[in-house]
């Protein structure tokens, strides 16, 4: 159980995390969602004590992370896969980490086996692909058989096989009763993995709910209608206060009225309908909608140098 209470962190004038409060429970995968620059990495860094919060506290199973007798047995965290000395072999990298917590030497071989890096254990990690580096990072998190694991954007740059592997790993870790906390800026990644969601934007909490609740929030956003008498129907629904958009395939999209109301209205008006369907906004859209106001770096028209920050992947 990780409890974040009133966490606030500034870098200079910029508020990265603003009075954030949430809890992460064991036995499930908690997704940590937000656009790039929302403060996800900063939050994770504060949980681990890498950064000191300006205000607020983080408590892990009742105490600060640094107080644990064997920190690696409590939390295994992977924030950056490339945060290793590239000149060191995979085995020596894991060994030097294991030694800090007096973990048995054989443990290094076991986690290497688990992530499939046994064959390259003696190679310097400099030459590793991003996927291999992620696996090495995950191996490091599992050294201490931790009660909690934290991954920051773990599938970034991975091939489909690697993505599937990480998803299954996270589910398996949660099924064993561990706390799994994983961040992403892509909703689609969470759809199949997360049980619970914490959504932040611009350092503020936007949603803290189960995946089910999030899906419910996301549905029923609009109704798609296709009709030969589009103009007549548009007039009719507009009178009722709905807003209408036109789809590119000649359909119209009505917001503000339910499918039933539109059907009745069409019947009254004598308008023939070829299609009438509630559009369940995809999770991706719901997420975009929720965080639209809180995107740190909007895509600007070309030529605006401010937009250069987009896609750097830096989350600070």
């Amino acid at each position: 159980m990780i409890e974040v209470r009133g966490l606030t962190k500034r870098y200079g004038d910029k508020v990265a995390v603003d009075d954030l409060t949430f809890g992460i429970e064991p036995g499930k995968v908690t997704g940590f969602l937000g656009p790039n620059g929302a403060g996800k990495t900063t939050t994770m860094r504060c949980i681990l004590g890498l950064d000191y919060p300006d205000k607020g506290t983080v408590v892990i199973d009742g105490q600060a992370f640094r107080g644990f007798a064997y920190p690696m047995r409590e939390v295994g965290a992977l924030l950056e896969a490339k945060a290793v000395h590239g000149g060191r072999s995979a085995r020596n990298h894991l060994l030097c980490l294991a030694q800090t917590n007096n973990l048995p030497r054989r443990r290094v071989g076991e986690v290497l086996e688990l992530v499939g890096l046994t064959e390259v254990a003696a190679k310097r990690s400099k030459g590793f692909s991003l996927g291999m580096s992620q696996r090495l990072g995950i191996a490091a998190t599992l050294l201490g058989d931790p009660k909690m694991v934290m991954f920051d954007e773990p599938v970034n740059g991975l091939d489909p096989e690697g993505i599937l592997w990480i998803r299954n790993l996270m589910k398996a870790l949660a099924a064993e009763g561990r706390t799994v906390f994983v961040s992403s800026h892509l909703m689609s990644e969470m759809e199949n993995t997360a049980d619970h969601l914490i959504v932040i934007g611009r350092g503020k909490l936007i949603a803290d709910c189960t995946m089910k609740e999030f899906v419910a929030r996301a549905s029923g956003a609009s109704v798609r209608v296709r009709t030969p008498s589009a103009d007549q129907l548009i007039r009719a629904v507009t009178v009722k206060g709905a807003t209408v958009g036109t789809g590119d395939d000649g359909s119209i999209e009505v917001r503000g009225l339910s499918a039933e109301q539109i059907g009745d209205l069409a019947f009254d008006e004598g308008v023939r309908l070829h299609e009438l369907a509630t559009v369940r906004a995809s999770l991706e859209e719901a997420f975009m909608e929720l965080t639209a106001d809180s995107v740190e770096f909007h895509a600007d028209p070309p030529g605006r140098p401010e937009s250069a920050m987009i896609g750097t992947g830096s989350d600070r």
């Binding site: 860094r45 007798a69 000149g87 099924a175």
Partner: protein, 310 residues
């Protein structure tokens, strides 16, 4: 390689008693040091440069004395063998000292290190102990090898120093015109100066201690600056460039400044012959100045290491 089943086939760890502390982190820091090639390259460079130049200097002195015997008085064979070690070797060991902490920042490894062991004071202390131990051992070995190789190269010149017996060299040389007015001048020597093995041993060990402390100065700068190039540059600036700049100051007061800088000790610790430098303190008080620099920089570095965001 792919695990499609929902199972983590990882054996559970046996429960642990006690608490992770300095012992494990020391082992970890030693593993870090021995598992990267740059450690071996820099240590090899330190030994090759120091010993190599000691040999060259030894041959140079032997040949000089052979053709100009009047240079015998005042020739400090011990210092001649150690000068490359403390002038150039200090720069190389500064690289080792700085990089033992800055390489963690340049690679990002520090975030991983502090995630597995969030007690930062323990990490800093372990780094300090491992660096001090390695620097001390390597410095002592280099200092002794430099000395022996340098003296061997000077063998037969009559000035070479020894760790096992007192060596007597002339105190003054007088040159007379040769009889008949032709040929080289005749050299006669006056008085003697005796160099005891203790003096030589103090110089060899003292120089090694000086170089070790230089590594700690660079380590402290590394912890403060957290950037390899920046830390090495400032270490070289402090130990090398600054003293060159001070040389340019007016004679009346430049010496009074120089004795407060960390590199001054190198120049007095290695001296075994001649009067003591009137402008610097004697060897050990001057060494204390260097040590104080190290304590302050390592202390400030440690404070910042604990207080700053990683």
């Amino acid at each position: 390689m792919t695990t499609t089943t929902a199972a983590v086939s990882l054996p559970a760890l046996p429960p642990a008693a006690g608490r992770a502390g300095l012992r494990g982190v020391l082992a970890s820091e030693f593993t870090k040091l021995r598992s990267v090639r740059s450690t071996y390259w820099t240590l090899a460079a330190l030994i090759i440069v120091s010993v190599g130049i000691a040999a060259i200097a030894g041959f140079g002195i032997a040949s000089n004395i052979h053709s100009h015997p009047e240079n015998k008085p005042g020739t400090d064979a011990t210092q001649a063998s150690l000068i490359a070690f403390f002038e150039l070797g200090q720069l190389i060991i500064a690289v080792i000292g700085a990089m033992s902490i800055t390489s963690e920042y340049s690679t990002g490894m520090i975030r991983t290190s502090l995630t597995v062991m969030p007690r930062r004071g323990t990490i800093y202390l372990a780094k300090l102990i491992v660096l001090t131990t390695v620097a001390l051992v390597v410095s002592l070995v280099t200092s002794f090898i430099s000395f022996f190789v340098g003296q061997a190269a000077m063998g037969g010149s009559g000035v070479s120093a020894s760790l096992f017996r007192s060596v007597t060299i002339p105190a003054n040389a007088l040159m007379h015109p040769p009889a008949g007015g032709n040929g080289p001048p005749v050299v006669t020597f006056q008085g003697t100066e005796t160099i005891s093995p203790g003096t030589v041993l103090a110089a060899v060990i003292g120089t090694a201690l000086f170089v070790t402390v230089v590594a700690l100065i660079a380590f402290g700068l590394g912890a403060i600056i957290r950037h390899t190039a920046g830390a090495i540059t400032s270490a070289i600036g402090l130990l090398f460039v600054l003293s060159i700049i001070i040389q340019l100051l007016p004679d009346t007061w430049r010496w009074d400044i120089m004795r407060f800088f960390p590199d001054a000790a190198g120049r007095v610790l290695s001296v075994t012959v001649g009067p003591s430098n009137p402008h610097l303190w004697s060897a050990w008080p001057q060494f204390l100045v260097t040590a104080i620099w190290a304590v302050v920089l390592v202390g400030v570095g440690g404070y910042l290491f604990r207080k700053r965001d990683a």
